[in-house]
């Protein structure tokens, strides 16, 4: 799980073009949206693309995304449960 979380941080930084942010800057339990990383609705859509591309997981309901994308912790837990 910890390994997955670290990998996710690297993938997020690349997928979302988070310039000048390193994996160490992201706390696994911190909220991804709102202040912190400054992510917005387009980033949420890009995380959906990332899940499909890297983990074969399809999310078609944005409301569901809201809970899953709360933090690296929730994202990693969801991937662990649903990955193929």
């Amino acid at each position: 799980m910890e390994e997955l979380k670290e990998k996710l941080k690297v993938q997020l930084i690349a997928q979302l073009n988070l310039e000048d942010i390193t994996p160490e800057d992201i706390n696994s339990s911190d909220p991804l949206f709102g202040e912190g990383l400054g992510l917005d609705s387009i980033d949420a859509l890009e995380i959906i693309v990332l899940l499909q591309k890297e983990y074969g997981i399809k999310i078609e309901d944005t409301k569901k995304g809201k809970e899953i994308f709360q933090s690296i912790d929730t994202l990693a837990a969801y991937i662990t449960e649903n990955r193929k």
Partner: protein, 377 residues
């Protein structure tokens, strides 16, 4: 100096003229169908498409400046509009204006093979049509997301009012392509069934294709009922490039500026009404802020989908047709209104005297536009 709608044409899934479209819409017919075409999408999706066989039949015998679907739509729509017009398209006092978001994007190929393809250039498409008609003035192209059509009409009205030209032939067109469909799918903004503007269960927009042409002129058309494009304005939300403003800021400003100095309430509002959850809520907030929540408002997207760069022209011309006939079309697809602020959104056609209507549009990039039309008898 008033600027009038001198002549017009629209081409949509519902027909190849304003009259044909009005008749179908008046009878409550929608042109949206489920489409199962892998060239457009891997999964079936609802969409409003122009009848390509009919388009080809209408154009047989012509040597077209551009034989793509986009080229055909532009050509036929302009031709039909000019048929009923007394404006000379080759007159140096006439200007051509094209509005589109993606033009010939379906001709795009892989990286490296596009740079030499002039058909992908929007100005080139506009130049082709004005040259065909022997017009001596450089054509103008407005490409400003989903407000392009309305903005092109506003720009034309301004140029005529300012004395730069006496007439403007304004054509808007967009074609449903895989490029556009996949993009809206990636935004999760396409509806699963025909779109339901302003409905509590709305789940996204339905795409449409088509063309609309209006000839604007400072010469009053020789008929009993004429429609004037009184005023228009655009404004930006300055909030987000894709998400509608939570305060309806840009649309509110556009409405305020377009209606400045107008004392009477508009008869009805032809709203943007894409049927995405956030857009329709945004409109309800902006219309409420502008003091227009009580005015009957409709969206035509349930009839013909979202025709993107053509929408502003097509929907303005439908609105003008309704004004002439003293009627307002219902909100096709709406059953139970569900908006942040309640609006007056009829679910049956209204038959009553109307003197004016307001057309609004909003789009990516935070842009918004509004225009006021008035009937003279």
């Amino acid at each position: 100096m008033p600027v009038y709608l001198e002549s017009e044409n629209i081409i949509t899934s519902l027909g190849f003229s304003v009259e044909e479209n009005l008749k179908a819409m008046g009878e409550g017919i929608s042109g949206i169908r489920m489409c199962n075409n892998p060239a457009l999408s891997d999964q079936p999706f609802p969409v409003s498409l122009v009848d390509k066989n009919r388009l080809d039949a209408a154009l047989s015998g012509f040597s077209l400046p551009d034989d793509s679907t986009f080229g055909k739509l532009v050509f036929l729509s302009v031709r039909e509009a000019l048929k009923g017009s007394s404006v000379d398209p080759s007159d140096p006092r006439t200007v051509f204006i094209l509005s589109t978001t993606k033009g010939n994007i379906e001709l795009m190929r892989g990286k490296g093979s596009n740079a030499g393809n002039s058909r992908l250039l929007l100005w080139h498409s506009a130049e082709q049509i004005r040259r065909y008609y022997g017009n001596p003035n450089k054509a103008i192209v407005v490409s400003n997301a989903c407000i392009s059509g309305l903005l092109a009409m506003i720009a034309g009205q301004r140029l005529i009012k300012n004395g730069d030209y006496d007439h403007a032939v304004i054509v808007g067109a967009d074609v449903v392509s895989k490029f556009i469909v996949s993009g809206f799918q990636s935004f999760l903004s396409l509806s699963t069934n025909p779109c339901k503007p302003f409905d509590r269960d709305r789940d996204g927009l339905t795409l449409g294709e088509g063309a609309g042409t209006v000839v604007l002129s400072n010469r009053r058309p020789d008929r009993k009922t004429v429609i004037e494009l009184v005023s228009g304005a655009s404004a930006n939300d300055a909030n987000h490039i894709s998400g509608p403003s939570r305060t309806g800021e840009g649309l509110f400003i556009a409405l305020k500026q377009a209606l400045k100095g107008i004392v009477e309430d508009p008869g009805f509002i032809s709203a943007h009404g894409t049927a995405t959850p956030f857009n329709d809520d945004m409109e309800s907030i902006a219309l409420t802020r502008a003091g227009l929540a009580h005015i009957p408002a409709n969206s035509l997207k349930g009839f013909i989908g979202h025709t993107l760069g053509a929408a502003g022209i097509i929907e303005s011309l439908i609105g003008a047709g309704c004004l002439s006939e003293n009627m307002m079309l219902k909100n096709m697809g709406l059953q139970h209104q569900g908006l942040v602020n309640a609006l007056n959104t009829p679910i049956e056609n209204l038959k009553q005297p109307f003197l004016t209507f307001v057309k609004t549009a909003s789009g990516f990039g935070g842009c918004n536009a509004a225009a006021l039309f008035r009937k003279h008898e």
